[in-house]
Symmetry: none
DNA sequence: CATGAATGAGAGTTCATTCAT
DNA sequence: GATGAATGAACTCTCATTCAT
């Protein structure tokens, strides 16, 4: 009995995932350049050649991994995708992003390490700048709606705080309590967003 | 007649610097693994072999670069090295560290990108953990002296903020105004350090 | 359809032999250190990289060659492997060992030359000391059974004669008649083993 | 005061010896190819360049070492150089050669290891074949004078025994008692030379 | 769909030798 | 005589990628 088209598709999808997961694990543990296609294939239990049946190149594997990472974070952004961010949606996004990172720490270690590489950065910027600009617009609107007098400035500070928190979370050798961590960050956001200059500053 | 010891020393120091600077520029531009010793030598106008007269290996070149970076930042920490951090010393350190980064942005891009690589991270941690622990002690003392009720927690938040700010500074494609940036961060520190819980939180 | 497991095995075995034979020829002709992997590959008609598909390193190629040599000689020792050496077995071993060496002179030139190298000697001693001790025990027993009053002494003299003969055979620029050579050595053994002290000494 | 010609000569000779001794020690310990000119110079406490002031090349250093070795052994052969070897002279030579080897074991390890290398062998044969043939003639005469009926055969057996003994002495991991060792070998010679066929063979 | 043998360009590294000083 | 910086060719080894089967 020949397999149906649907069965073939299922097999293909499964293998793709297998390769991606294996590659991710190895990239995260040893770094991208220290990981060979041979290692990936062997650990995945398939042949070297087959990998190239599913991905054009080693870089293509990486690109796919990064893409999945980006989506994993931003699928929780503006949940109903109406282009309007409410405060609950904002908080949900923050908490979810930390949750996602904590749940798959190794991936995010890799993600950050890769994102810092000069060439990758350029590639990434080209691919995702469109989406990024969309996000920025929504956030600016969100800050304005929440009473920010200088939303660009506040966005900048918020981004700093958020990225810094991700970084700490990912590079710290000690494992931190997720809830405590997020609560701190949320408190930081509240202070920035709700801040009014008073006489004590 | 052979050159004098002093002449040899001068040559060696100059060449070492030349190699380090060239390597840094290339590492920063193309990444560590994408840069070959051949490229470094060619750009420095010397032979490949000579590089190994000055550095044991490519990794040794990197290690030296990282060491210089670490020192460049931390020479401004606790300026009089008395183990006691005053608030002015703290502020001086923060402002200086941003200044140092801004002045040599390419280096610091590399520095951060390298620091994220799994293997490097381990090497680095082993080499610098001692110094780091010293720093942490001093900072804990500093926070306690400034009225912190939970200095470990506050240290954690401060570190997040600082590292995040460095990250943003270094990865942002737009060039930012240094003073504005530092002022913001300093304000963040003040809020964290001087913060008292009031009824509005 | 991929090749069958059997096909792959056949290919691997054939290529392995090809590489070993080629390497041996070159090592023997030019010496181990004067032979590069590139030369081996070129002479074998394959790519440099492929060599490393079959052997972990140049040293691994050498180790395999030495191992084969050791076995080639000692498979004729104590033919029925009962731990007891009869005189016919002894003579058979001597004659066979010379035969083996004469038949593949180049290999044995290399073998001896390699065995003298300081580093190799250590490696070899560690790998084969166990087997050697077994051999010594059997030979001591053999000499005792043949009336030796001081088997350690006689073993030493015999070993000297044998090793020296191998050495001469291998290093001599003139080609000697194998049978004549062996007969001489066998006579030497007889003189040593059957010697009875008489009044003329 | 400028140094006199004689002083310069003394310095040159001393330096030459220093380089030779140092090179020998390193060659013997690590092998010829594993020893660099840099190592030799550093261990000798001189500069790399100076080595080339005394020797044309690394190979020239080796050649000189080998030459000294050859002479060290054969200066004891046919002590009065009258072309006639008496039995006492023969015994003296054998005992002296073992003594020389035992006194400077490392050198002789190297010597044998080097002598086996294909290229070296050729060079050596060309340089010393003349001397060797002279030696052979004297030994044949010696054996004939001592009642040998087939001096070529006996020479061959004796040479085998001697070379084998040297080989064992040099490659054996255990240190042997020199006198015992020589006595064994001398006894072997006596057994071979004085052998008379009796009815038990 | 699947295999792994095979390639070839290029990496890091070593080192005998040269040469300006 | 003496130095060691400098060279450049050669080395061992790696690995992304191809392709016959």
């Amino acid at each position: 009995m020949p397999r149906s088209v649907r069965q073939y598709e299922a097999i293909r999808k499964e293998k793709r995932e297998l390769i991606l997961d294996t590659a991710l694990a190895l990239f995260a543990e040893n770094g991208f350049h220290q990981t060979s296609m041979e290692q990936i294939a062997r650990k995945a239990g398939i042949s070297k050649g087959l990998t190239y049946n599913y991905f054009e190149s080693k870089n293509a594997v990486l690109a796919e991994i990064l893409k999945k990472g980006f989506n994993a974070i931003y699928e929780h952004f503006d949940l109903n995708k109406d282009g309007l961010l409410t405060y609950p949606e904002f908080e949900f996004f923050i908490r979810q992003s930390f949750h996602v990172i904590c749940k798959n720490m190794n991936f995010w270690k890799l993600y950050f390490s890769i994102m810092m590489q000069p060439v990758v950065t350029e590639t990434y910027i080209q691919n995702y700048s469109e989406t990024s600009e969309e996000l920025i617009k929504i956030l600016i609107r969100f800050l304005t709606d929440n009473g920010s007098e200088n939303p660009a400035k506040d966005l900048f500070i918020i981004s700093s705080l958020l990225k810094g928190a991700y970084l700490i979370l990912v590079t710290s050798p000690v494992i931190m309590d997720e809830d405590l961590f997020v609560n701190y960050i949320m408190e930081g956001f509240q202070r920035i967003i709700n801040h009014k200059y008073n006489n004590d500053l």
